[in-house]
Amino acid sequence: MAKIAIDPLTRIEGHLRIEAQIEGGKVVDAWSSSTMWRGIELIVKNRDPREVWALLSRI
């Protein structure tokens, strides 16, 4: 029984970590985590609604 972790996962947009539990050569469980957070939901709060598209399109 082994656990592997791939971090950073490349060729994707953003930061991602994948962990997998291996048993008998098969993945029996897996976890993914986004390893970056900016809080854009909090940043757009109370802003002029007309400009929110400009911030959210930069996710």
Partner: protein, 357 residues
């Protein structure tokens, strides 16, 4: 690969001598240099060894990477970016996980003080930097190690240059720029949302040619790209001066390409070369497309310049607001007078016609 110079690589890719020299001239022009330096640029690009480059992404949207990848002209610029032979770039590199980390560690170890680090995205400082981790390391630790040991760091985009969107109020993660996170590193800022590929290419070419980074302003931005105000190079400027403003999206003035100041354009407070080098192969830029400038290359633009649709408050030292208001009123008054005259003429005509009857 690494021992070859840029031009040997380009000729392999079918770039002719003429194309190469045209590229060198374009770079000289972008850098605001006289054409006499073209041979010097050409010589440097032909003879100098390709620099080792690593590209780090922290709190980013990969917009700057996209900006680079999408560029198709000048084709050679794209190749220059190939040529800066990225040893590490998460979005496009083949290895993942441990192998990816090894590529980065190898450059830092084997070429200490000689490689260029390009950073995209801001660095979160709050709560021990947990809001951005790569391979189990925080962005701040990575930046200290990679940028701290680099020959120079190029911060691409406004997030790496100033904190950008992540640092906009209330800055939930304590995001800062690369220079703030690693004060002892040599950092040049190429802000913009995203960075313009041509400015990045020109910065690299300048470094290869002169062995130094280009001259910068107090914000750490190279003067060749950020030395001039958007408003002063804008093709709509004659309309600003004439008091011809768009007042509603899609109105007559908007259709005619009038000035976007009243619609929130931040051009009067923004410094960048968008009006001259433009975007998408020199096709257009925001104001040309009919939308005001956001001021994306200005520090803390999301908070300092107000909503992108609210008119800039007093522009310091120039009194543009009063001018625009007065001129605007003047135009409105003239238009009203025109309507009145027209009405009077019509009234008298009608009267005359009635009299005839």
């Amino acid at each position: 690969m690494q021992d070859e110079s840029l031009f040997s690589d380009l000729s392999k890719r079918g770039i002719s001598r003429r194309d190469f020299l045209t590229f060198c001239s374009t770079m000289a022009a972008t850098l605001g240099l006289q054409s006499t330096v073209v041979p010097q640029i050409a010589e440097a690009l032909e003879k100098k060894q390709k620099p080792y480059v690593v590209w780090l992404e922290f709190q980013d949207c990969a917009g700057d990477s996209e900006s680079i990848l999408r560029s198709t002209k000048p084709t050679i610029a794209q190749l220059v970016l190939d040529v800066i032979s990225l040893e590490y770039h998460e979005t496009i590199m083949a290895p993942s996980g441990k192998n990816a980390e090894k590529s980065l560690a190898d450059v830092v170890k084997n070429h200490k003080g000689k490689y260029i680090a390009i950073v995209e995205g801001s660095i979160p400082m709050k709560d021990g930097g947990v809001y951005c981790c790569i391979g189990g390391k925080t962005a701040i630790d990575m930046a200290k190690e990679v940028c701290g040991n680099a020959l120079a760091t190029i911060a691409v985009g406004s997030c790496a240059s100033y904190g950008g969107i992540p640092a906009a109020a209330p800055n939930p993660t304590g995001a800062v720029s690369v220079k703030q996170a690693v004060p002892n590193a040599t950092v040049i800022n190429l802000p913009g949302c995203p960075v313009n590929c041509e400015n990045l290419t020109a910065t690299v070419v300048h470094y290869l040619t002169f062995g130094a980074l280009p001259q910068c302003d107090k914000e750490g931005r190279p003067l060749f790209a950020y030395g001039k105000r958007i408003h002063d190079n804008c093709e709509r400027r004659p309309h600003f001066d004439a008091g011809q403003f768009v007042r509603k999206w899609g109105d007559d003035g908007h259709r005619k390409g009038w000035c976007l100041y009243e619609m929130g354009c931040k051009g009067p407070q923004s410094y960048m070369n968008c009006p001259t080098i433009r975007w998408n192969e020199g096709t257009s830029w925001p104001v040309m497309a009919g939308h005001g400038c956001f001021g994306c290359g200005q520090p803390q633009n999301w908070d300092a310049l107000g909503s992108i649709y609210s008119r800039l408050p007093n522009v310091p030292g120039a009194g543009y607001q009063t001018t625009a208001d007065k001129i605007g009123l003047g135009v409105a008054a003239a238009a009203a007078a025109g309507v009145a005259v027209h009405a009077a003429v019509r009234a008298s005509k009608c009267k005359a016609e009635e009299d005839k009857k």
